[in-house]
Amino acid sequence: MTVLLEMQGISKTFPGVRALDNVTVQVREGEIHAICGENGAGKSTLMKVLSGVYPHGSYEGTILFAGQEARFRGIHDSEAAGIVIIHQELALVPLLSIAENIFLGNERAKGGVIDWRETYRRTEALLAKVGLTEAPTKPVGDLGVGKQQLVEIAKALSKNVRLLILDEPTAALQENDSQKLLNLLLELKAQGVTSIIISHKLNEVRRVADRVTVIRDGSTVSTLDAHAGQVSEERIIRDMVGRDLAHRYPERVRNPREVLMEVSGWSAKHPEHMDRDFIRNIGFNVRKGEIVGIAGLMGSGRTEFAMSLFGRSWGKDIRGRVRLGGQEADVSTVPKAIEAGLAYVTEDRKALGLILEEPIVTNISLANLAGVSKGGVLNDATEQKVATRYKAAMNIRTPNVFQKVMNLSGGNQQKVLLSKLLFTEPQVLILDEPTRGIDVGAKFEIYGIMNKLADEGRGVVMISSEMPELLGMCDRIYVMAEGAFVGELTAAEASQEKIMSLIVREHEVLEHSEMEAAHG
């Protein structure tokens, strides 16, 4: 096989940090090449070097693309050469149509006048290629994330791509959309498209990748060949973290005690579809010292349910009862919910959780300013003491608590967010995707913190899309589908298959009843 891309001895230094140190990556024509590494290992920097975001001359080493030395001065150069990156945060304009997005900046036009017939004709061809059956005129904002991802790929294909780079393509996708995307990658490979996939999801890497390059601390650690049987999740993890992860989930003595929180008859409507309940009659409980999971696909209403519970932060016409510690609890506003002992740790820490421009210390005290003030006047010394205490307890890795949160890694940001809510002294914590987008080592630490919280006698509710994580951590798992809880499994009886079959059954039931309604 011929080599399409060779990055040799790439080093890149930022003031005070050596982000890349002699990295070598070789990608063969027509293969799917995975790049794995913890957050901060240097994957994104490497991709920025490749795409010309860091122009030639700002790094050491050489890039050979299709046999020629590439000296990209910007994204324009790399795209002209046929290298297209699809970033984690999709770069689509929601209000523009699929066709307009695909040819944005590359319009099919004559003398500045857009040729719509040509645009739609080519869009339809591209959509067929990625297996998306939507009208080219449909606004991208009306599509789900999975379909938007396909539009991005169609956009890349429209540019006669030779090397497609996908940065965490399935991070925001639910299970079946992820599978579709991976199948598409394999299909494109069959058509001769070479791709690089950057992913934390090692099962997906194992499924599609021909070869895997593992990067740790800015250096290449290993290149594994799937066809030589070298690719296994254990091996990748070992190379990524530089040690064996004997147990992916820390041990815990499971000791659930009396019921701490009980929710009954919880229903809510979607603010934009007020005709029916979006959250349907949910009842559940969590005990002291228990970790309870909520499984379900994206779009099943997990986050919406949790947020409606936490001070009616989501939804309209919310009904239902909450008992906390044996008493009726008022959780109708966020301050009241916090007062009652409930805490919700959002899945979207950047948009909904943290003030990125502010230091750690102000973020940690934000939800309990009363705890660091007297008569409305802040006590700086107390505030710093509190933050320093959590920095130590949570092992937030940073020189001091005055660092801006935006400069922290995903794992450390998650710990700051957790600290903020722990400082409200909650009895029950709802953790929404607590390990999304953080590296393996930090995940392990978050699991440890969750175990500790349960050991202290709190109730922990964990919402997650990663089923292995739920199975590894939870004492009980509720399965959610279409806004309702459709099943409850104990740790002993739970399995991925059982959870999926509960979800699928609910979908079938719903479809059936909708058909009945349509006929009746």
Binding site: R243, V334, G353, L354, L366, V377, L378, A392, R397, F402
Partner: protein, 417 residues
Amino acid sequence: MADVDNARLGPGERGVGGLREGEGLSANGRSGAAYLKDNLREYGMLLALLAIVTFFVVLVRVQIGVDFLNPQNITNLFLQNSYVIIMALGMLLVIVAGHIDLSVGSVAAFTGAVSAVLTVNMDWPIYAVIPASLVVGGLIGAAQGYWIAYWRIPSFIVTLAGMLVFRGLTLWLLGGQNIGPFPPAFQALSTGFVPDIFGPDRPNYLALVVAVVAALAILILGIRSRARNIAHGMDAEPSGIFWIRNIIMAAALVFVGWKLAGFRGIPNVAVSMAVLTILYAFLAESTTLGRRIYAIGGNLKAARLSGINADRLTFFTFVNMGVLAGLAGMIVTARLNSATPKAGTGFELDVIAAVFIGGASSTGGSGRIVGAIIGAFIMGVMNNGMSILGIGIDYQQVIKGLVLLAAVIFDVYNKNK
């Protein structure tokens, strides 16, 4: 978990103690120039003000042959800029909360007109007129804040409407006429001076004493907070820069006090300005109320999920802005000794410019009271200096516009660096 951590830490970052030590070194051992470079924005404003003042001192001396910093002109600087500074305090909070208020010029004109009608036409005593006008300002702020906070209508639109409405109401209330003159008690709001408790003769010792006390207070508070920062492991200012900065500031204060002592002493507006500045700096930096305003500007959704009542706070910032606009309106009216339909035209631009020159972020969440004050003085000194030099209003506007743009460009450049 402990061995996990150590395994993940590279050599040289093992253990917190090691880091602390390294940091202490960097704070004390690093050169002052490097520190200045890292905190360019903070010092830049102060240096810019200093440079602009020096520039005018030299130019006014060379061109006209008088002292730019003569006692009367220093007094004038306070009188001319008091309204901008007072409204900048409220505008900073509005901008930090992520909003804007375009109506303050019109609101100031309207409350000025109300105070004129009450005082001149209806013979209300001053102790009734002042609170009544402040309440009018507050009610106007509440009326605008209600739509912004509870109906989520963009503040730009609501206050643009307010700008037109209250300009119109000012014209209507005054019937297109000027109302005045005012009794001396009302004029004293702006043009009065604090009597010298040490005796009626010149020089005015009170001004000097107040300036010296204030300078000492700045030094002592500065030393205390620096010691506290070092104790908590914060990246403290190198001692050289700390002393230079504080001594310049203290010297400037004493200098101003000495100059004021040679004229008529401390203007009343300087007292209200100083008191309000201290009050708002405290509110912004040391109270939960202030912290929450910064939080809603920094990340509205995160603040809401942290149990912060963002709507009520937004409403408060606009009520507060209205009250301060009311106060500024009375001061302007008192200074002109008449309420005019044209009063306060373009004030909103000076005030907003002052806040942005002072380093507030246009997207909300950051900005300091001290910055806004320095920004207001930069605008004020330029206005005053250019007028003395006889520079036409045409060039003045161009220059002010460019300074505003330069300050914000400097900000953005600094952030991206």
